[in-house]
Subunit: 431 residues, 2 copies
């Protein structure tokens, strides 16, 4: 039976800090956490955590892994031009093989940076993504992306595929996959299609996710066409409801924040992507004040350009302070909680995201014996304002080691990097 103890380690999760603690793991569970490890005479591997922080694995609640192959394809362009002039033509040149290479690259990058659980929405290479995620040992919420252009039949087929895929993920034997239904957005799907997608999700008890209120233009044009703002309208129609995930939610007003809160809608805040595409600055402090479960997402590497949630944590903490000219509107502990506990709840892993007895053993170790983490006065501050994904040395998911001493154990990093370079050449030739 898999069992081990990490000791002499600073334990930090979204709820508390234990300065010199231990975590005991049996099978896939955390069975004990405390400040003094008493050897219990069982045979048990001991990992010395001296000089390290142990925290829950980070949870990335929004992304598109195949697009990692398009990293840097277009910088310094606004969302609409980025999408229409660069991304859609570029994506048209992706195929199953190149998409697979992008996904593998994303998994390597995320794992290295301490992400243990991620959301992925894409239309290509679905079974491949599920399979690789299983092999990697990571957790994920997977969905078939749907843009509802094309004939009624084509739309129906997409939705069928989406439901089949999501159900298969939910039924994964490892229990590490979840499925979701993810129509792209109110500006690429008709209201009718969104209603059908939501109904299909509800029938199969699948969570519903959607990009929404990302840009001012989107909201303005939707309002012109439908007479209502997109979030208000989708909530009124029951498309966004308890447990749904509203990705971006940049342009939301006070009434919408209150409605999202009352309905129990979750939000994925993607500050880097929203900044980089000039979409704007979401009212994070206001959403947190209304107790909306807001988690963090990187979006794809084509609009970020990394998948490092430490960067996202820092940005989420920083930007609202500056924008509102009030340093106290965000605090580092809350940001850590968003990136771990809230993220895990949002993606359907209720027993993950905390370092606590009875929770799954999803955690990472961070080496603080580095100049930029010295001295270490404040654990939350160190994680949010100074650390980076490059400081993560070890990753465990459900009690299994996926990275030890910066070496990946389940993914062949060199091979994946080389295949990504080849796939990138193939993609360029196909353009």
């Amino acid at each position: 039976m898999n069992q081990f103890v990490v000791q002499n380690v600073t334990i930090i999760d979204g709820k508390r800090i234990i300065p010199d603690g231990f975590v005991q793991v049996k099978d896939k569970w955390i069975v004990a956490v405390g400040s003094e490890w008493m050897d219990n005479h069982e045979e048990c591997e001991c990992i010395d955590g001296q000089g390290k922080i142990l925290m829950p694995g980070l949870v990335n609640t929004h992304g598109h892994t195949p697009m990692t192959l398009l990293r840097g394809i277009s910088d310094d362009l606004p969302l609409e031009r980025w999408l229409k002039e660069k991304i859609w033509p570029a994506e048209a040149a992706l195929d199953e093989e190149t998409a697979a290479a992008g996904t593998a690259l994303a998994l390597v990058e995320m794992l290295r940076a301490g992400t243990t659980c991620f959301a992925d929405m894409y239309h290509l290479n679905r079974e491949g993504t599920a399979l690789l995620t299983e092999e990697s040992g990571m957790k994920a919420s997977l969905s078939r992306g749907m843009i509802a252009f094309g004939s009624k039949e084509a739309q129906r087929e997409k939705l069928n595929e989406a439901v089949t895929y999501a159900k298969a993920c939910d039924a994964s034997s490892s229990g590490r996959l979840r499925g979701a239904i993810f129509p792209h957005s109110p500006y690429t799907c008709s209201l009718h299609f969104l209603q059908e997608a939501k109904a299909a999700a509800d029938v199969s008890s699948l969570p519903f996710q959607i990009h929404i209120a990302e840009t001012r233009k989107e909201v303005r044009e939707y309002e012109k066409e439908q007479g209502k703002r997109p979030i208000a309208h989708l909530m009124e129609k029951g498309i966004l409801s308890n447990g749904s995930l509203a990705v971006h939610s940049v342009h939301v007003n006070k009434a919408e924040i209150s409605a999202l809160s009352h309905a129990g809608v979750h939000v994925s805040h993607n500050p880097q992507s929203n900044l980089k595409l000039g979409s704007g600055i979401a009212p994070l402090p206001q959403m947190l004040n209304e107790n909306i479960p807001v988690s963090l997402g990187t979006d794809s590497a084509a609009s970020n350009n990394t998948l490092d949630l430490f960067v996202e944590m820092r940005q989420a903490a920083m930007i609202h302070k500056g924008n509102e000219e009030r340093a106290e509107v965000t605090n580092a502990q809350e940001i850590v909680n968003m990136a771990t506990y809230t993220g895990a709840q949002t993606l359907g892993f209720p027993r993950a995201g905390l370092i606590k007895e009875g929770y799954e053993a999803d955690f990472i170790l961070i080496d603080t014996r580095q100049p930029h983490l010295t001295p270490q006065l404040n654990g939350y501050g160190a994680l949010v304002y100074a650390a980076s994904g490059r400081d993560v040395t070890d990753v465990f998911v459900a009690g299994c080691a996926l990275m030890r001493d910066r070496r990946l154990l389940t993914l062949d990093e060199e091979k994946i990097r080389k295949e990504a370079a080849l796939a990138h050449e193939k993609w360029k030739a196909a353009q």
Copy 2:
């Protein structure tokens, strides 16, 4: 004679990219740059740059190195409370020895992250800072910080010390140090003192630097007291003039931007510090449009919390796009130019900041063979939106290697980290 060539390397500076180039160094100079290295049969060390980017060393135009010991002392508090409740009491407990430990830690952190030249303003351990900078092989603009509280005599003594220190730096035999005159701010120094400081700077041909227009409150209170906004007033009085460095310049209006531009005043943009303290978002795009030489600074680790200029570059590029909801208001090439060429010009190193024949050989190598830098479609984008200080492998200043393969050659990192931890204990005990 020191000479070597770096070949098979992607060369990127603020002006151009050479995809598969070489840089030839003799003594402290770059003597040739091109795309095809022809062996000239001289005995010459060759460094293979395969898979790497070679760029100018980064220039940090604002900071307080001893405060690195106060990293994380106070997060999520606004500037005024941060300063009065936390920083000033904390600084009062620093002494020459603990300040020296903080400076050493800062130099290690900066060097590791590819910073080759920095500005430092502080009142303690001045000679020690100059000496250690010389030993480290880095370049710097050093100044004695002056807060003009206290008696006339005390103020005069501070100013005398500041001039003596700045002149000594300017006269350094290595030519790698510059001196500057740096009264803290218009809210901690009387107008009279600022005038005296400026006159002293001018008499000795020393550059003048000052924190200014950092918060809305500062501007409002100054205006209430003096009837004018601080930048406008100091320009009118000739205190800010050609070549002066206005640090922060967050709350500047259109007329002030135009005036700064006409007068040839430089600006140090410190986006992380300005965000973290809730000071606000400086109008960077507008300042660049008016051709103000704007460079980047980290400020101290107590308000950042790192000294990594890659983080600063990313923030400078990102935040204005989101704030103005226009992705095109900043571009990655311009940001790289700010962090290198403009910074070097601002700190008084006219032949630094470019990879160009006749410039000093101050450059760094970045390892791109990593998942988060794969694929590499756009060099400027990779540097600004994906790279981090942790990707820097080699640092050269004036032709000398200061870091090779991530190992520091001039500073004893382990010793400095341990001394910083001890100094931190000493500082805590003194509080």
